[in-house]
């Protein structure tokens, strides 16, 4: 009689205790920085863990095939974890590492770089860099200097290099050219403002009935761009103090709430799929980095879409998050791991990935400005790279997932109209202060 009950609610208290208990047992193995390197690093394969949905994994697999072709001596075992945000990805990863499964190389986005570096889980890369100085110099020369500087400033706490910065995402506005044309609204320009944006939404709604914009509560994709273009952010520059109840943040939330209240945006909390809606002509604009490209291509809508910088109120702004590729301290295949990382940042690796329509902008300027990245993509795709010049690294204190949830919950309360912007963000601010 117990069995149906267990299957009824898959995570029962008992299962939960098993998990916590299991990790406790493994604690002695792995808690001290995974010193004895059990799990993945003990096997013959080079293990690499990254975040990717099933749709994206097909793209990654082609890249891995290329690596195996060049380095048949290294057996690469790559594993994509299909999660939708970095916070959840790092939770999963931390749990695994605590359980003794330590990979050799991990894809770590800005959201988790400081966390992993500060816990002593990673091997410094400085010696490897010195050994391959010319390769690295060539790589850095082909990159926006901001990215190198941010990587130093935010991804390390002790001055050592733990990550090579890789591909990144910034935020721009994707729009449906068809809907703008149908409504007789001129297409947005790189210098457009919040007022222009709101006006376009109103016109499109009035003339075509389509939604103007899909307001959302994703931290990177739908909250930060509005804060930054209003001259504020979620945290102070060194990520030590939350500033989420700043009057400018409240103003940005209010602006988004009005879009929902005036039905220029679908109500939040539903199952609205912005990419599909835009391809079908039911939505004029959504925020995005490079990642919508896979869906937009599958929907055969690349020529119907355009990309422009985010509309501004005070100044140009965009969050930026980039991938770093560290070698784990516990890895027993550090040299192979370095070979793999060098492949990922090489011109060839980078261009294959860009061409295959990866979900991210290549770090190399030469690739980002080449046909392999720009063709079969909406006009204005180059703005994603240009945004690096004015972008702000996404503030990511240690308890990233909890921080993100507090921010998103507060914003959602505003969008639904359950609470006034000042109350909701004030409450979130209190929660954030408790977390850092």
């Amino acid at each position: 009689m117990n069995q149906p009950l267990l299957s009824r609610r898959p995570i029962t208290r008992r299962r939960f205790l098993q998990t916590t208990g299991g990790t406790a047992l493994a604690a002695s193995l792995a808690a001290c920085g995974g010193g004895n390197g059990s799990g993945g690093s003990g096997t013959k394969e080079l293990s690499f863990v990254y975040m990717g949905t099933a749709e994206q994994q097909a793209t990654w697999n082609k890249l891995f095939a290329k690596f195996t072709e060049q380095h048949p001596e290294i057996k690469l075992k790559a594993e994509g974890i299909p999660l939708s945000n970095w916070g959840d990805f790092f939770n999963k990863l931390s749990t695994r590492i605590a359980g003794g499964q330590v990979p050799d190389v991990i894809q770590i986005a800005t959201e988790g770089q400081r966390l992993f570096a500060s816990k002593g889980l990673l091997a410094p890369l400085d010696d490897y860099i010195k050994k391959d100085q010319s390769t690295i110099d060539e790589y850095y020369a082909d990159m926006d200097p901001n990215l190198i500087e941010w990587d130093k400033k935010y991804a390390s706490t002790d001055g050592k290099t733990y990550y090579l910065p890789g591909e990144f995402n910034t935020m721009c506005m994707w729009y449906s050219k068809d809907l703008f044309k149908k409504a007789g609204v001129p297409e947005p320009t790189p210098k457009w403002t919040w007022d222009d944006f709101r006006h376009a939404c109103e016109q499109i709604k009035a003339k075509t009935g389509a939604f103007g914009y899909a307001a959302d509560s994703a931290y990177f994709g739908a909250i930060m761009p509005w804060l930054l273009t209003n001259g504020t952010s979620s945290f102070s520059e060194d990520w030590s103090k939350p500033t989420f109840d700043d009057p400018k943040a409240i103003e940005a939330a209010e602006f988004n709430r009005k879009l929902v209240a005036d039905k220029l945006s679908p109500p939040p909390g539903g199952t609205f799929d912005a990419f599909t809606a835009a391809a079908q002509g039911k939505l004029a604009m959504f925020g995005g980095g490079r990642w919508p490209i896979i869906s937009i291509r599958n929907l055969k809508a690349t020529t119907k879409m355009g990309i422009v910088p985010w509309p501004t109120k005070v100044e140009q702004g965009s969050p930026v998050g980039w991938n770093g590729y560290p070698i784990l301290k516990a890895s027993k295949k550090k040299d192979d791991a370095w070979t793999f990382i060098k492949f990922l940042i090489s011109k060839e690796g980078s261009s294959t990935f860009a061409q295959l329509g990866g979900t991210i902008v290549p770090a190399r300027k030469s690739i980002a400005n080449s046909q392999s990245f720009l063709e079969d993509a909406p006009t204005g795709t180059q703005y994603l790279y240009q945004a690096l010049s004015y972008a702000t690294p996404i503030p990511s204190p240690d308890k990233g997932a909890a921080v993100q949830k507090a921010i998103e919950d507060g914003w959602k309360q505003v969008l639904t109209g359950n609470a006034t912007p000042a109350d909701a963000l004030g409450k979130a601010q209190t929660a954030l202060e408790g977390l850092v």
């Binding site: 009824r8 609610r9 808690a31 539903g270």
Partner: protein, 280 residues
């Protein structure tokens, strides 16, 4: 001696997967641990934090509301359904209706939750269409928890229903006949024959439903993420958030112990009270 050998698989499984983790949870609750660095001894800090944490109190409250509503709706309406099916249906319809009621229970929570998210979508969901209402069910602080109670009812009623139906079938026909001869009407036959004979089944259904409901996790995580503003956060979900999102594993262990104690106390209470009404 061979006797011990025979029970050893069960005992070992219990020790490894239940007793040991439980002990580990006791141990962990006395530490500060973020999964990645060395645990630090914290004494009773986690428990002190627990009684002051308004989010914990809110989560316990939400879970109690959910569990009580769950017990009442499952056992109450489940009983009505079972009676209806048992009394009035032909064999064929009975099979069909029984399968239909039980079916949602076989679908995993993840699928059920996503399905209902579509049904309840404020823009194009069929709930908005048929009810002609613009209520954003899952985003409203008033409606989110009742909505989840309804969804949970839809999903799990089949289980309670089947247990109660099986119970109904154990009521001996001769008792009903005797009552009928004595001139009892349908209501009295239900009240004085069916209900007492079925009381052990009802008791079992109540206990099982309460324990299951108190551990509710999936629909909250998938449909509302505990929102809006913590209105639907359950105690297990909060434990998960603390353990695997805030990396306060010690605190999460303390929370899971609270859950353990609450379930034990309530179940103990139910057994105690059952002496008054359950037919032995």
């Amino acid at each position: 001696m061979p006797g011990y050998l025979f029970i050893s698989p069960a005992v070992l499984l219990f020790l490894i997967f239940v007793a040991l983790p439980l002990l580990a949870a006791f141990g962990l609750s006395l530490f500060h641990w973020d999964l990645l660095s060395t645990p630090e001894f914290a004494g009773l800090d986690n428990f002190k934090q627990l009684v002051q944490d308004s989010a914990t109190i809110r989560a316990v409250f939400n879970t109690f509301v959910f569990a009580l509503a769950s017990v009442v709706t499952h056992v109450g309406i489940g009983m009505l359904l079972a009676l209806g099916v048992h009394r009035t249906m032909t064999r064929g319809t009975k099979y069909f209706v029984r399968t239909a009621f039980f079916f949602p229970f076989l679908v995993s929570w993840a699928a059920v939750a996503l399905l209902w998210k579509y049904v309840l979508d404020p823009t194009f969901g069929i709930a908005a269409y048929y009810l002609q209402s613009s209520t954003n069910w899952l985003a409203s602080p008033t409606w989110a928890l009742p909505t989840l109670i309804v969804v949970d009812w839809w999903h799990t009623i089949g289980y309670t229903f089947i247990i109660l139906l099986a119970g109904l079938q154990t009521v001996p026909a001769q008792l009903h006949e005797a009552a009928r001869v004595d001139g009892a009407n349908a209501w009295w036959r239900f009240w004085s024959v069916t209900l007492p004979v079925m009381s052990p089944t009802i008791f079992f259904a109540t206990v099982i439903t309460f324990i299951g409901a108190f551990q509710i996790f999936d629909p909250m995580v998938i449909m509302t993420q505990g929102g809006p503003d913590g209105a639907t956060r359950s105690i297990v979900q909060y434990t998960y958030e603390k353990g695997f999102q805030s990396f306060e594993v010690g605190y999460a262990a303390a929370l899971s112990l609270v859950l353990f104690v609450v379930i034990m106390v309530v179940t103990g209470l139910q057994f105690r009270l059952s002496r008054r009404w359950v037919h032995q």
